[in-house]
């Protein structure tokens, strides 16, 4: 090498080194994320499994033997599966009909119907169980007061099927309406041009194309039903299910190993279905999203079926609204079924006993939300845009939590963080950690969406127009990721406000949660108070929607806040 190229070489090395100075930062970031995921995702899982396998400090299958031999656990397992299958099937059918009606038939008031379906997704998970007592209980408005049915037993299988189907079919609806919208109506038209009758078109084209979506919907509802905690706790009656048994085993019996064993049993199907969905069903999707065809196919069903479908949708929406209205009404009525005088006393009581709880709940959700979303977005950024060893493991660990039932998460956290040096039980940190790591997949999802918004080109074009990375971040990246951030934050906030199954293991006298308070009040037959608290919770969520919306516009108007000319 000549002297010149030597000096050039060193000069370039120096520049590369300068840029490389960023790399240790990235390394530290990656390492700390992996550490956190290991500690708050894998370690609780490991502890749960360990406790169940080593109940007395050494390896012993006694826990599983007991669970699989004792009648009451066997019943709980088969009940859970039976309930899951029935609810998933019913829910998917309703979801499909609803989605089909809303995507394929034109009729007024569609937005209203969509809103009605979204409502169960954003409200506390057991709200239907609460109103089911009002409507279908012994003093129920429908059963006793209107229909005069005596001794109708809402507690048990029947009641659970009703409330779970109503509260869970919306998830299926979201999946299926997305898929039905993505099916090119031209395909249906084409099938008809080829001579297929309407019904034939439906069975040979529409239905097979929607099949992967139906599967996904079925599995998702099945898992939801399996992991549901609030509804069976309120309406379970003599119908024990796995998720409640896990809690009962801990709270009632103080039997940690057996609780752990039940949590593991709950975890096995959900995690395997998660893997199944992620790696098998995804490949089988036939849907080609063209994105161009906005025309709606209005040809595939006959007029009569149209009318029936619309009627069906109205019926379902009406049922949902009745459930919500009854909660609202119940919160103002002295004693449902006995004393119908209007009263504010439930609200006065709710604020007297529950004010601290409301504050705690809102505070924790408010702190957890930005952390969760930012953490998720950082992971998404690292996984999508960077390469480092252990990347796939990180991605899997980060989304794994979504497939773990809340009961197992809460249980795992409780037994993992109750001694030095990880003494977190009873503090706000255990609740925060639970929120952050349980809902970080939402942040990751939104991070992915945001990254697709902010293409490399856009960042670079800002750079070579003269913007430093700080300015680019402030004026381009930030406003562009704001919508994904806000929608993820909204969703996370709602989840933090309404989650019950994990939180019930982690709340303490110092840090309480509204859902557990509502549940306790329901248990103690303080129904009016529970309804009032539920209304307050729903209102907080609706207010938060408005606040987040305001944040959205805030993000947009301040684009040039930093570099504007005055």
């Amino acid at each position: 090498m000549t002297t010149l190229s030597f000096s050039n070489y060193f000069k370039n090395q120096k520049i590369t080194l300068k840029r490389l100075l960023n790399e240790p930062l990235q390394l530290i970031l990656v390492l700390s994320i992996i550490f956190c995921l290991g500690l708050f995702v894998l370690y609780p899982l490991y502890s749960t499994i360990k406790v169940s396998l080593m109940p007395n400090g050494h390896f012993d299958l006694i826990v599983y033997k007991t669970i699989l031999n004792q009648q009451r656990f066997k019943i709980a397992i088969s009940n859970s599966i039976l309930l899951g299958i029935v609810v998933a099937t019913l829910g998917t059918i309703i979801a499909f009909l609803f989605a089909y009606t809303l995507t394929r038939i034109q009729f007024p008031g569609k937005h209203f119907f969509k809103g009605m379906v979204i409502l169960p997704i954003i409200s506390p998970p057991f709200i239907f169980a609460l109103s089911a007592v009002l409507l279908l209980g012994r003093n129920g408005l429908l059963t006793q007061q209107l229909l005069g049915i005596e001794n109708f037993n809402i507690y048990g299988f029947k009641g659970l099927v009703i409330v779970q189907t109503l509260s869970m079919f919306p998830i299926g609806f979201l999946i299926l309406s997305g898929i039905l919208q993505a099916i090119d109506p031209d395909l249906e038209t084409c099938a008809m041009n080829l001579g297929a009758k309407r019904w034939k078109t439906f069975t040979t084209v529409t239905f097979p194309l929607a099949l992967p979506g139906l599967w996904a919907s079925w599995l998702l509802i099945f898992v939801q039903s399996l992991t549901d905690f609030g509804n069976p706790l309120i309406l379970g009656g003599d119908f024990p299910v796995l998720s409640v048994q896990t809690y009962l085993e801990f709270v009632g019996m103080g039997n940690l190993p057996r609780g752990a064993g039940l949590a593991v049993l709950l975890l096995v199907p959900t995690v395997s279905l998660f893997i199944l969905q992620r790696y098998i069903l995804r490949k089988k999707s036939f849907i080609t999203v063209t994105g161009k065809s906005t025309r709606r196919s209005i040809v595939s069903v006959s007029q009569l079926i149209h009318v029936l479908l619309i009627f069906f949708s109205i019926l379902i929406s009406a049922i949902i609204s009745i459930f919500y209205i009854s909660i609202f009404a119940g919160s103002f009525i002295k004693l449902w079924g006995i004393n119908w005088t209007l009263t504010f006393s439930h609200y006065i009581y709710a604020f007297d006993v529950g004010l601290q709880t409301i504050k705690d709940t809102v505070l924790l959700a408010t702190i957890a939300t930005p952390i969760t979303v930012i953490f998720g977005m950082v992971i998404a950024f690292l996984v999508v845009r960077k390469s480092f060893p252990g990347k796939n493991l990180m991605a899997i660990a980060a989304v794994l939590m979504f497939s773990i039932p809340g009961t197992a998460v809460g249980f795992g956290y409780m037994i993992s963080f109750n001694q030095e040096p990880l003494l977190l039980t009873g503090t706000m940190y255990i609740l925060l950690a639970c929120y952050v790591f349980r809902y970080v997949p939402i942040g990751i999802e939104s991070g992915m969406a945001a990254l697709s918004q902010v293409s490399k080109d856009i960042g670079e074009s800002s750079t070579n127009l003269g913007a430093s990375s700080a300015i680019t971040f402030r004026s381009i990246t930030l406003p562009l990721i704001t919508p994904s951030f806000i929608s993820a934050a909204t969703f996370t906030f709602v989840k933090c406000m309404t989650g019950l199954s994990a939180v019930i293991f982690l709340v303490s006298a110092s840090w309480k949660h509204m859902t557990t308070l509502i549940l306790a009040q329901t248990e103690n037959m303080l129904l009016g108070q529970a309804y009032a608290m539920s209304v307050v919770l729903t209102l907080i969520i609706l207010i938060s929607f408005a606040v987040f919306k305001n944040f959205m516009t805030l993000g947009q108007t301040s684009v040039f806040g930093g570099i504007s000319h005055d």
């Binding site: 004792q70 009648q71 009451r72 019943i75 209980g137 012994r138 003093n139 005596e150 001794n151 037993n153 507690y155 048990g156 706790l233 009656g237 003599d238 024990p240 009962l248 801990f250 709270v251 009632g252 019996m253 103080g254 039997n255 004693l335 079924g337 009581y349 007297d352 006993v353 601290q356 504050k359 705690d360 809102v362 505070l363 408010t366 409780m414 109750n418 001694q419 030095e420 003494l423 039980t425 009873g426 503090t427 709340v507 303490s508 006298a509 110092s510 309480k512 306790a520 009040q521 248990e523 103690n524 037959m525 303080l526 108070q529 606040v547 305001n550 516009t553 805030l554 108007t557 301040s558």
Partner: protein, 340 residues
């Protein structure tokens, strides 16, 4: 536009800071408590204490069984300094598990020895016998006779009409279970439970819920503590009580101080503990829960002192020690007969 956003932002931050301050900082003049009293009763009791002491009570309502499990789970980092109310058997279990701490005090001097722990770990605030509570209207509607004995409850005509809580969660229900064992002897007791189970459609988590359900007619007959029923009757619900002919069990609602509770609260918790056995607390128990306290205060109308009730020979120490075994057995009997 800009101004509007600034105002919005500042308001939001202020609200948030206020929340923070309230939840995190204002924690010196306070007592954190688990309580197994009814939530409305607890609210009244603690409001009265707050008024008198100037301290603030933060409480969570848990059933007796839940409270013990929770305290056990938090053993290394207790979150509360006092457990207020709840069936005495639970307090004995807490003592046996090393969860409570001895607190010798003159405040419990007036109590009979059987109503307090000899090592000063817990002491009773009131006693309450178990009774059958039935909804008079419902009983008439279904043309059912009044059940007068434990035996009666297993009659097939009561199928679907009886309710009690789950002894796993509820101290009340465990009290029922041990009473049955004490009356019938363990072997016959579980045969009895199997028969009783056929008439019970569901077991609640909370011990007081069945009584309330009976009051509003959600169920016809409940097994629970007398004072709860008396309160409902005085509130005008169509409820009546019946003491079982074979005799009945009773609870000693008790209070314990928690070992290694939050440090800055220890003195405050002791204040609450001592106050719990005094007259002004007793007045609240009387007015709110119609209980019969161990202090001499005017009783609520219809309240029944434990001395006037035919009670069984009750060994709470034995009941506390055998809880896991009995509850486990109960679970097995109840669930396996459900599958028939």
């Amino acid at each position: 536009m800009r101004l509007k956003h600034t105002i919005f932002f500042i308001t939001l931050s202020l609200v948030f800071l206020l929340l923070m301050f309230d939840s995190v900082l204002a924690r010196s003049k306070r007592v954190t408590a688990y309580t197994s009293l009814h939530e409305p009763v607890a609210r009244a009791v603690f409001n009265q204490f707050e008024k008198e002491s100037g301290l603030k009570v933060f409480f969570v309502r848990l059933s007796t069984g839940e409270a013990v499990s929770k305290l056990d789970a938090e053993r290394l980092n207790p979150q509360v300094s006092i457990w207020f109310g709840g069936v005495g058997i639970g307090h004995i279990r807490a003592k046996n598990k090393g969860l409570s701490v001895a607190n010798p005090t003159t405040a419990t001097k007036h109590l009979e020895p059987k109503y307090k722990d000899k090592d000063h770990h817990w002491a009773g605030i009131y006693a309450a016998p178990l009774v059958f509570e039935y909804n008079t209207i419902m009983l008439k509607r279904y043309a059912l006779p009044i059940p007068v004995s434990w035996r009666d409850l297993t009659k097939s005509e009561y199928k679907g009409h009886i309710q009690m809580a789950n002894p796993g969660f509820s101290g009340t229900a465990y009290n029922i279970l041990t009473t049955i064992v004490e009356i019938f002897g363990e072997t016959s007791a579980f045969k009895y439970i199997q028969a009783l189970n056929r008439n019970i459609p569901m077991y609640s988590r909370s011990g007081s819920a069945p009584g309330k359900r009976a009051a509003i007619g959600e169920v016809t007959i409940a097994i629970g503590y007398a004072h709860d029923a008396v309160k409902f009757i005085s509130d005008g619900f169509p409820l009546a009580i019946q003491f079982p002919a074979e005799g009945t069990g009773y609870e000693i609602a008790a209070v314990s101080l928690i070992k290694n509770g939050p440090k800055d609260e220890t003195e405050n918790a002791k204040k609450l503990y001592n106050w719990a056995f005094g007259k002004s607390a007793a007045k609240v128990y009387v007015s709110q829960s119609f209980a019969v306290p161990f202090v001499n205060v005017p009783l609520a109308k219809g309240a029944i002192p434990i001395s006037e009730v035919k009670t069984v020979e009750q060994d709470d120490e034995w009941a506390a020690k055998n809880r896991s075994r009995l509850v486990e057995k109960w679970h097995n009997v109840v669930t396996s007969s459900q599958s028939e």
